[in-house]
Symmetry: C2
Subunit: 384 residues, 2 copies
DNA sequence: TCATGCCGTTAAAACGTGTCAACCCCGCAG
DNA sequence: CTGCGGGGTTGACACGTTTTAACGGCATGA
């Protein structure tokens, strides 16, 4: 690759280590800007700007000349100057709850793909489930003058409201909202909880465990409500479900929960975890303790992350259209950015789907011939 | 939370839907800038700027007055204007190979944490192992005028050179470099490959499989070299190791590789995968086909992602200091940004560590009492 | 021939911040 | 009382782009 192929990140010329910032003399410009391009192409700076932003308004011949000058000089538009003058950037902020959870990574992939297609860059940040970190990082977003923000709020969206008051469009990610003044994209977590626990009960479980994270997290609260609803629908007393709350939503916390259960001596027939990471942690400790899954304890997780299918005992889980979540949220956000007037806020709500694998299949159940069964409201997705 | 607690993302005031961009008349300023703060505090704009950037140069009393004005007006510094004038931003770009690989997510966590501590924002992008995407996204970084770039290159760093010619500091991530004109942070993949295959051979394997991604990826090439070196050291012929190259580094590709192996009829004694995702895919297909791991085929992966320990058969893997990789790379980058002259480029090279779990443990081996054994050059890390 | 549009181009004025030389004020030594 | 020094503060300009009103040239129709 010795020739300078098309489209590479170009470099103007090799530059000395230290150069006075403001010298446009004979030594070559410190940075090549729109002005240099204009001069090189024999037009005015305004025309170059037009070529960049409204190519249709400039005569083909001139345009070609300018474009060639851009290539020859290796000009790269100065995003900050553009943002400053135009009043908006080509950057969106993405704030997730937990970067090490594959669920959010998958969401981030959707966001990144969609943003990239529209020429936007993604500013990524993790709140690590901390309001204080969320706050601090959103402030950084505000300073960077992001065009819009996608956020999985830790506090029901109060911080997000602050942004909206600044006229920064916000789309709530994985968080439904009753309010019509904003977009949101979410999956019905109540239905998901109901689906999971309903299945466990239908499979004959009489006592349940529910391992969950901080109840302040909407995801946890909703999945719990769904679980309780299923319990009620089956005519079971509320005491039939023991709740174990752990401070985080990762595998380590799941292990802790399982150890607590084991220490108590009596295990429930089945355990529903608010999260696959929790479930994997629970499973690991149970298996190490010699507890059979699902024979002794059935297990269902949530999110259906890629690794659940490959777990020690393939994990049943509630599947969400994760990648789509990120994609659609981004599309909505950019739509609102491009046309704040005409934009109609939407609250998108997906329906989850229960993927039944070995961890919740009754031993010797009649349908055990199939490796994987999925039920739920949504249509069928392609197999992973 | 009805009172306006300290430090929340503040909003100047509720604003109407559409406002003329340039009207600083009686209706209140479109945006509150350094000028408004100055007026409110009874000082000049220059002083406000000094409060923001060199607080020590301004008298305590004045500073307090300005800071209060900032709070009262909910001023947020305009990052773009700052960048434009100062000539550099408070943003770093991070380009990874694959966002859905937990290895890179973990790296990203380290980057995000370190950057956040220094008040920097992270622009995230995935090249998805495509040169063209890498190129396009690096161009976006360049437009955004990132302060520096962290990149896991797909092409040995040629694109990165382009950036450096533009005086944008670059640190190579998970990619060693012999050249002294740049920083790099990496783990010795040759040693890792040698460690893994050496172990498999020591455990008695006579025939091997090596499942790997595109040989253009340095990681794959190096791990392969290490594997071959171990083979040679054991006095085995090169033909003893069958290589299976798949187009991607994910679980699906691993499944494909395993199916190819099964179709051929004869399985090797052991398989080394260039990646845990590949290994998990391989394992899944093998187990479904009734092949015992490790009794029939031993298996070792690479990266030691969190989920490997929870796999159907806990997966042996080559562990890397993943989070640290991101953290240290970021520290180096910011150090170079802060002081380009005084900065001495460093090529950091970590040593990997083999974590032996069930997937590569000989059935009935003498040491089978321990649940997990780890060997390698590095010191001991805390247990996960 | 001259007025009339129209298209393409231009010059100049912003956008909000950082920088730096100049300036002011006050205390102190001469 | 004057000159001097220095810390604090000021004001104006520059950063690179977008935008807008104005302008020039050309073709058309009267």
């Amino acid at each position: 690759m010795s020739t300078d192929g098309t489209g590479e990140v170009p470099a103007p010329r090799r530059s000395a280590r230290r150069r006075p910032a403001t010298r446009n003399g004979a030594g070559g410009p410190a940075t090549v800007g729109i002005k240099q391009v204009a001069q090189h192409a024999g037009v005015s700076p305004g025309t170059v700007s037009n070529v960049l932003n409204r190519p249709e308004r400039v005569a083909p011949a001139t345009r070609a000349r300018v474009e060639q000058a851009i290539r020859e000089l290796g000009f790269v538009r100065h995003g900050s100057a553009s943002t400053l003058r135009a009043g908006h950037s080509r950057t969106v902020g993405l704030m997730v709850l937990d970067l090490s959870n594959p669920f959010f990574t998958e969401v981030a992939r959707g966001v990144e793909d969609a943003a990239s297609e529209h020429g936007y860059a993604v500013l990524l940040s993790s709140s690590a489930e901390s309001e204080e970190r969320e706050q601090r990082n959103l402030r950084v977003f505000a300073e960077q003058r992001v065009r819009g923000v996608l956020v999985t709020p830790v506090d029901d969206g109060r911080q997000a409201d602050r942004l909206r008051e600044r006229d920064i469009p916000v789309v709530l990610l994985d968080h439904p909202t009753p309010r019509a003044n904003q977009c949101s994209v979410a999956v019905d977590d109540v239905a998901g909880g109901e689906l999971a626990v309903g299945r466990l009960l239908a499979d004959g479980a009489r006592t349940l465990g529910f391992v969950t994270g901080p109840s302040a997290l909407r995801q946890c609260a909703d999945r719990r409500r769904g679980a309780l609803r299923a319990l009620r629908a089956a005519g079971m007393p509320r005491e039939a479900m023991r709740e174990l709350t752990v401070p985080a939503m990762n595998a380590r916390a799941g292990q802790e929960a399982a150890r607590r259960l084991l220490a108590d001596g009596t295990l429930p027939d089945a355990i529903f975890c608010a999260n696959d990471l929790l479930a994997l942690g629970v499973m690991r400790v149970l298996l190490q303790a010699g507890v059979q899954v699902p024979a002794d304890v059935a297990l269902i997780g949530y999110d259906d992350i890629e690794f659940s299918a490959a777990a020690a005992v393939p994990l049943s889980s509630v599947r969400q259209p994760t990648y789509q979540l990120g994609r659609i949220a981004t599309e909505l956000l950019l739509e609102e950015c491009d046309d704040p007037e005409g934009h109609a806020h939407q609250q998108v709500m997906f329906q989850p789907e229960l993927v039944v694998r070995e961890s919740s299949r009754r031993v010797g159940a009649e349908d055990s011939g199939l490796p994987e069964i999925s039920v739920g409201a949504g249509g069928s997705e392609e197999e992973r």
